[in-house]
Amino acid sequence: MTGPKSIISTLQRHGALWPLVALGLIWLVIIIVNPGFFAFTIQDGRVFGGVIDIFNRGAPVALIAIGMSLVIATGGIDLSVGAVMAIAGAVAANLIVGTDLPAPLIILAGLGAGLAAGLLNGTLVAGFGIQPIVATLILLVAGRGVAQLLNDGQIITFQNEAFAFVGVGTLLGLPMPVWLVLFVLAAMLLITRRTALGLFVEAVGANASASHYAGVPVRAIKLTVYAIAGLCAALAGLVATADIQGADANNVGLWIELDAILAVVIGGTSLMGGRYSLVLAVVGALIIQSLNTAVVLSGIPPKFNLVIKSAVIVAVLMLQSPVAQAQLASLRRRFTA
């Protein structure tokens, strides 16, 4: 019973149909304008190809989207992820330049900075009851300042092959960022499904009051998801920093919060909270990156990128809005009647 129909209905039940259709359409456009894009070549033990490229470039957004999914699922939002990337990058770069610590410890230190930032956000949201937009806005404003302070206003460049491996290394033929996305995705799937975290996150997002009545530790859950988002952002920051072998506090992760939120929303998670999908958030990140690539390849000047992206956001939001759905339904009735 695994005919095409049942596959489609399974995908549809998981909300995966439309994101995958969208990704397929974009890839179709890419194939039409550039038939060679999906060819793979192997060179120096590394696989090259357009798809790999999309995965690789989309990695930071995908990493952040994973953390953002959980935050949005609880009905929250994290606007500070770009700033946290900058902080984590600055911490790592300064430790590389200033100390002889081995790369794993440096990575841990960068992740630690992200965790601290996430806990700050979580405390403001869960402890003080501040709206998530506002609470994370504070770090969005101040975070880049902190990163610049650490960097003393410079772009800190470094030479450290072990650390750079995180951004540009190759493992079993695939770029390291791709592995990191797969690893984080697998780890988070494991954590959310093998503990009660996934259930609690969805319960809190769908109805925080009822969850409280049922004995779910609502505040602890909220704190946890912001901490995870901080960790994911920090990892993305380390990847971006290792990629350019330098910490640029001003530009690393600029506006990435928007891409990450968009990825989560395209993946079908409602901004109101509740059901979420980590896999589809990653698919959403791939859609965004594919869109960027498609715009470039199809000869549209890259300057139209933002306009197209904003049109996509508005379209997706409208389609998800119950009001628009009701309007569409009544239109359909009028035409079929």
Partner: protein, 500 residues
């Protein structure tokens, strides 16, 4: 022609919400110069009727006319412009605006197109004089007591030069002298030919003020009566849908309960500031305590206090004879107390999640994060609950919001039974539930008692309350006014205690 005698007339008004008929073919008529009390228990349809009347909800059927002209308000503004002014129960105007701004919002006096603050404040002071309120009208409304806010809300409604004034529970936060002031004003308005629709749960006030009474129950109109010709017990009968028998109806034997042991749950002169006062009750294992009383008597608040949603300001709660300090639902659950809340949608079900997840939620919360219930066990739990409770759902994966009210209630019951609590609080467990599920839930209550659980159940349906309670505690105005035990528990006895 009814237009000659009636100011406001509703014919066959109908309003549906997904899955619920909130108003079913309701007629309602208000004459000029009368105070018309609109009565009914929670869920009777009073609020919906008012919201249809005042343009908050569009109606799904029926006719409305005001002063002979057809009325179909699409918004609150339109209803107001037509002459219907409303003081809503749950809305305390805007605490951040000044008293004067609240009174005159949308009708501010202007000079050269700009708000004339001086004239506005003077006008506001003038209006409040009628209410014998001498307060600083320039201060934000939120700075004043709830009673004053309520009076300001009423003053705003009265001040709109309305033909019909709708007051939804206007006296809930007023003291006796403030109520008198309000009633004097309402009597003046009545003399001036205004029609007043008055919703309240204070029966004394109904008799003190109203000319006629309309009773709603379950979205239907039970009848309209001249207040002077309707004795109070008769009114309560209409509201609760039960008729005094005049004879003590006997009931199925109530299994004997071993006395002398420490009660499974005991409340000793418990007070919550701004809520229940001096409540004492004790539930033995295997015993069901019924909490009776009209809407707003404090039934729900007793449950809230026991479940740690409100903290006691004095008095104590004991479990098996030991003092316990309960400050949160988690704490209550840890001590073996569970609550099926009155508002199922807001506080009970997690609508987006599946039946299975909803059933597993409380058990999982108690087990903690690190010990997830294995998928197979979860499935088995859900399947068992679906069979045991006859939950009507195609499968355990269906989002619980798509189930009917009765089945949602069964899911919540199943959720709690999964953690096998010693004490179960049921706040209106059968409200808004179809007949079949109703019987099912009552059967379950009996079973739970037999299994040795202590139950505390609130209900506005006397018949069921009498059927399962080993003891009935009657509440009014957040205080305990009667306790009825054993063979004395009859519908007549409870009704008389409520109406006394």
């Amino acid at each position: 022609m009814t237009a000659a005698t009636s100011l406001l007339s509703l014919r066959g008004v109908r309003k549906e919400f997904p899955g619920v008929v909130a108003l079913d073919d309701v007629d309602f008529e208000v004459r000029p110069g009368e105070v018309h009390a609109l009565l009914g228990e929670n869920g009777a349809g009073k609020s919906t009727l008012i919201k249809v009347l005042t343009g908050v909800y569009p109606r799904d059927g029926g006719e409305m006319s005001l002063g002979g002209e057809t009325l179909s308000p699409q918004s609150v503004g339109e209803a107001q412009a037509a002459g219907i002014s409303t003081v809503y129960q749950e809305v305390n105007l805007l605490p951040n605006l000044s008293v004067a701004q609240n009174l005159l919002l949308g009708r501010e006096p202007r000079r050269f197109g700009l708000t004339d603050w001086k004239q506005m404040n003077a006008k506001a002071r003038e209006t409040l004089k009628r209410f014998r309120l001498d307060i600083d009208v320039t201060r934000p409304l939120g700075a004043f007591s709830v009673a004053i806010q309520q009076l300001v809300a009423i003053a705003r409604g009265v001040d709109q030069r309305a033909k019909i004034l709708v007051l939804d529970e206007p006296t809930a936060s007023l003291d006796a002298s403030e109520v008198e002031v309000l009633f004097d004003i309402l009597r003046d308005l009545r003399t001036a030919g205004l029609g007043v629709v008055f919703v309240t749960h204070f029966l004394d006030q109904v008799y003190a003020l109203s000319d006629r009474i309309t009773v709603l129950r379950n979205g239907r109109k039970i009848g309209t009566f001249e207040t002077a010709e309707l004795p109070r017990p008769k009114l309560v009968e209409h509201m609760l849908g039960y008729e005094l028998q005049g004879t003590a109806s006997s009931h199925a034997s109530r299994g004997t309960v071993t006395e002398g042991n420490d009660a499974a749950l005991e409340m000793d002169s418990a007070c919550v500031s701004g809520s229940v006062q001096e409540i004492s009750l004790a539930a033995q294992s295997g015993e069901a305590i019924g909490l009776a009383g009209l809407l707003g008597s404090g039934r729900t608040e007793v449950c809230r206090a026991l479940f740690g949603l409100d903290t006691l300001s004095s008095g104590r709660i004991r479990r098996n004879g030991r003092d316990v300090h309960i400050t949160s639902p988690r704490g209550a659950i840890a001590k073996g107390i569970a609550l099926c809340p009155e508002d199922r949608k807001a506080n009970g079900i997690v609508g987006e999640l599946s039946v299975r997840e909803n059933i597993a939620l409380a058990l999982q919360a108690r087990r903690g994060w690190w010990r997830p219930i294995p998928a197979r066990e979860k499935r088995a739990m859900a399947e068992k609950a679906i069979t045991d409770f006859k939950i009507a759902t195609p499968d355990a994966d269906k989002p619980v919001r798509l189930l009917s009210g009765g089945n949602q209630q069964k899911v919540i019951l199943a959720r709690w039974l999964a953690i096998a609590p010693d004490v179960l609080l049921l706040d209106e467990p059968t409200r808004g539930i179809d007949v079949g599920a109703h019987a099912e839930i009552l059967r379950l209550i009996h079973q739970l008692c037999e299994r040795g659980m202590a139950l505390i159940v609130t209900s506005s349906e006397l018949e069921e309350l009498v059927a399962f309670s080993h003891r009935v505690i009657v509440l009014r105005d957040f205080r305990q006014i009667a306790m009825i035990e054993g063979e004395d528990i009859t519908e007549d006895a409870v009704l008389q205690a409520i109406a006394s």
